[in-house]
């Protein structure tokens, strides 16, 4: 299976997990992002994800490379779904295997934070009372140079 993938099909968690299994892995940390119904008082009916697909896959791969630099024994796989998703559908599955558990947790957390910074994917919330493209979820970041940290070669 492709280790870094944007897909319009439902995500199979076990496929992502299988692709990081390794005889020297003692720990696999899996992060699954799912569509939540309530955000504060707002009720989501469904979501739409759109991506700049070839670039998004390259950026996911970059995250894998960054993880391998920080945690050399780590193996990473990430699949992100696009298109229309219903409540409880899986938007993203990240799996990282490492020899020891500490690194697996750290690396999988790093991956999801980094996705929210550098991977060109956008979410449109369809609420019961309107719709909205969600941008800059962290709320505070601006990019005067035109790019997030550490992405220009």
């Amino acid at each position: 299976m492709k280790m870094f993938k944007i897909t319009s099909e439902p995500i199979n968690n076990q496929d992502v997990i299988d692709s990081v299994a390794h005889h020297n892995a003692g720990a696999i940390s899996v992060f699954i992002g799912t569509v939540r119904e309530m955000t504060g008082q707002k009720q989501t009916k469904f979501l739409h994800y759109e991506a700049y697909v070839p670039m998004a896959e390259k950026q996911l791969e970059r995250i894998g490379t960054e993880i391998q630099e920080k945690w050399p024994s780590a193996i990473t796989a990430i699949t992100h779904r696009i298109g229309t998703l219903q409540i409880s559908d899986i938007a993203v599955t990240i799996a990282v295997s490492t020899p020891h558990r500490h690194d697996a947790f750290e690396a999988s957390r790093y991956a999801i934070e980094r996705i929210k910074e550098i991977v060109p994917i956008w979410k449109k919330e369809h609420y019961t009372d309107g719709e909205e493209w969600i941008g800059n979820q962290k709320g505070t970041t601006t990019y005067p140079a035109g790019h997030p940290e550490g992405v220009v070669k």
Binding site: E50, A91, W122, W133, G135, N136, T141, H147, V152
Partner: protein, 79 residues
Amino acid sequence: MINILLFADLAQQAKTERISIEVHSPLNVEEVRTLLQNEVGKLSGIENALLAVNEEYVELTDQVNDGDTVAFIPPVSGG
């Protein structure tokens, strides 16, 4: 010819996801952004967009060559 890609809110404002512009001299990303808005009208929030040329992030001052694809990437919200 330079290919421009727009996404999410920017595509919605421009009413297109893709536009090509003819250029007759070397220019940088900032100049492409100006030419783009000349074509499709002012795009609110485009100054917060990340910039990519040929699927790699670049700076506003980086050069764009004939045949390149320039993408204006609104703040991302995957995950």
